[in-house]
Amino acid sequence: MAALSIRDVSCVYPAAGKTGQIHALQGINLEIEQGEFVVALGASGCGKSTLLNVIAGFIAPTQGTVTLGGEPISGPGADRSVVFQKHALLPWLNVLDNVAFGLKIQGKNRPAREKVACKYIKLLGLEQFEQSAVYMLSGGMQQRVGIARALTSDPEILLMDEPLGALDALTRERAQELILKIWNETGKLMFLITHSVEEALFMGTRLIVMSPSPGRISHVFDLSFNRRYLATGDARAVKASPDFIALREKILQIIFRDDEGTHHE
C-alpha cells in the first residue's frame, strides 16, 4: 500500500469575480511510496499549489480522497510539514526557537525541544546562528531555518512549495544539494514544487508535469539524477550530462506547448 495515495481528486474553485468555475485540479491520481521524492512542475496556475494544499490538508478536495497510511486526510497535521517560499518564519523568535516552534506547539518542554532542534540546526549548518534573529539572516539561511523547523516534528511527508524560488542562483544550487542530502539521510517522502526544470530533474525520483485548465497531470517521468548526484557528489557533472540536458529540453518543450495553448502571459 502506498504511503500517500491520491485518488481521483478534483478541486473546483467557485467563480472568482464574474467568470465561471475554475477547475484547479481534475482527476488527479497519484500513489507515492515512503522515501520517494516527487517533484511537480508546470506552468503558472496549473494547480501545483492546490495539490500541495490538498495533501497538507488546507483544502478539502471537491471530489476524491487523499489517504496517508490508509487514513483519510481531513485537515493539517504534524505528520505533514510544509516549507513555504517565504514569510513563514516567526520574526519574534530567534533561530533556535523558530526551529523548535513545532515541538513547542506539540507541548514538548524546553530541554526536550531544544535537543531535537539542535540536531536539525546542526544538520542544516546553522550552529553559529542559534541565537540570531531570523530577520537578520540572508534568504538562503532563512530557508534553511524553515526546512529545519519542518523536520523537527519528524513528519512522514515534507511538502515544499517553491522553497528555493526567491534565492539567487548560487545559494539555490547549494540548497538543492542540502535538501537532497537530508532526503537521503532521513528517507522521508518529499513533495516539491518548482518552476525550474533543471531543479525538478536534479532533485526528484519522480517528476509530475502538470497542465492547466483543468489542472491535471499530463506526464510522469521516473528520474534518477539525484541518486547519481548523491553517488558522485558532483552536481555540475550531473546537470551537464547529455541525458540530463536532453530530458530538460524535452520537458521544456512540453511546458512551452502547454503554455502557448493557454495564451498565458
Binding site: V54, F58, I59, L68, I73, D79, Q106
Partner: protein, 286 residues
C-alpha cells in the same frame, strides 16, 4: 481516525477546537473569515429595539436618554423650526464652511510646504521645529491663545481648525516624498529630466496616495476640532448647537447634533475615499 487524532497529542478538546480542511475557494485558517454584515445589522436593530423598549417603558428618564421617537421628533422639529433662531441648514452650513475653508487652506499651504520639506533639507530645517512643537498640543489648550490673538470671530475658529488639519497634511506630504522609488527617479533623470520635472512628474504623483490619506486624517481632525472652535462665542454651528443645548439639558437636541456631526463626518470620509479611488487607483497595487 483522522489526521488530527494521528497527531502527537490527541485529545477530544483538540479535535473540537481544530478546524477541518477548508472547502476549495476558502483559505484554511485565515483568521476572522466570514461575513459580519448580517450580525451587524441585527445588532443595530437590537440596539435600537432595546433603546426603544427601555425608554418607552420609562426605565430610563428622557433627561438621560430620550427615546428614539423623541430623537426623530426633535430632528424634524429642528429641521423645520431651526435652533435658537437659525435654521438647521444654517448651522450645518456654517460648520461645514468652517471645516472646509480650514481644510482647504491647510491643503493649499500644507501640501506644497510638506513636499518642499521632503525635497529640501533647508525647508525641513526651518519648518520642522515649529510644526513638531505644536503638533502634539491639544487644540483646546491653545484655543485661549487663539482667542487672545485673533479674537472671537471666524478667524480664530478657522485658524484653530486649520492648525489641527495642517500638521497631518504637511507631514503626510513630507513623508509622501519618500514614496517615489529611486528607480522611477533614475528613469526620469536618464531621460534628461530636470529637478523640477522629477518633482512634478514623479515625486508628486508618487506622493499622492500618502497625501490623500493625510488629507483624510486631516479632515477627521478638523471635524473633531470644530466643536472646540465653536465652544467660545459662537452663535451658530453644530458644535454650538450641541454645547448650548446641553446647557438647557436638552439631551435630545444634543443627540440629534451628535448624529448630524457623525453623519457629516462619515460623508466627508466617504468622499475622501471616493476621491482616493479616482485619483490614486493604483494605491496598494504596485
Amino acid at each position: 481516525m483522522n489526521s488530527t487524532t494521528r497527531s502527537k497529542s490527541p485529545s477530544a478538546l483538540l479535535i473540537l477546537r481544530r478546524a477541518r480542511a477548508a472547502k476549495p475557494g476558502q483559505i484554511y485558517g485565515v483568521p476572522g473569515q466570514g461575513d459580519s454584515v448580517l450580525i451587524s445589522f441585527l445588532v443595530i436593530i437590537g440596539l435600537i429595539f432595546f433603546w426603544w423598549l427601555f425608554t418607552t417603558l420609562g426605565l430610563i428618564k428622557p433627561l438621560f436618554l430620550p427615546s428614539p421617537q423623541a430623537i426623530v421628533e426633535k430632528f424634524l422639529h429642528i429641521a423645520a423650526d431651526g435652533f435658537t433662531g437659525s435654521s438647521l441648514l444654517v448651522h450645518v452650513r456654517i460648520s461645514i464652511f468652517r471645516v472646509f475653508s480650514a481644510f482647504f487652506l491647510a491643503c493649499v499651504i500644507g501640501i506644497p510646504l510638506g513636499l518642499w520639506m521632503g525635497m529640501s533639507p533647508i525647508a525641513r530645517g526651518i519648518f520642522d521645529p515649529p510644526i513638531e512643537f505644536y503638533r502634539p498640543i491639544p487644540p483646546l489648550a491653545y484655543l485661549p491663545l487663539m482667542i487672545i490673538w485673533f479674537g472671537i470671530g471666524e478667524e480664530s475658529k478657522i485658524l484653530l481648525i486649520f492648525l489641527s488639519v495642517f500638521a497631518p497634511v504637511a507631514l503626510g506630504a513630507r513623508s509622501g516624498v519618500k514614496s517615489a522609488a529611486i528607480e522611477q527617479i533614475h528613469a526620469a533623470y536618464s531621460f534628461g529630466a530636470t529637478r523640477w520635472q522629477v518633482t512634478s512628474q514623479i515625486i508628486l504623483p508618487s506622493a499622492m496616495p500618502e497625501i490623500i490619506t493625510a488629507m483624510r486624517i486631516g479632515i477627521g481632525f478638523g471635524w473633531t476640532t470644530l466643536v472646540a472652535a465653536e465652544m467660545v462665542a459662537a452663535t451658530e454651528g453644530l458644535g454650538y448647537m450641541v454645547l448650548s443645548a446641553a446647557q438647557f439639558l436638552q439631551t435630545s437636541t444634543v443627540i440629534v447634533g451628535i448624529i448630524i456631526i457623525a453623519a457629516i463626518a462619515y460623508t466627508f470620509d466617504f468622499m475622501m475615499r471616493f476621491v482616493e479611488r479616482k485619483v490614486v487607483p493604483w494605491k496598494g497595487r504596485t
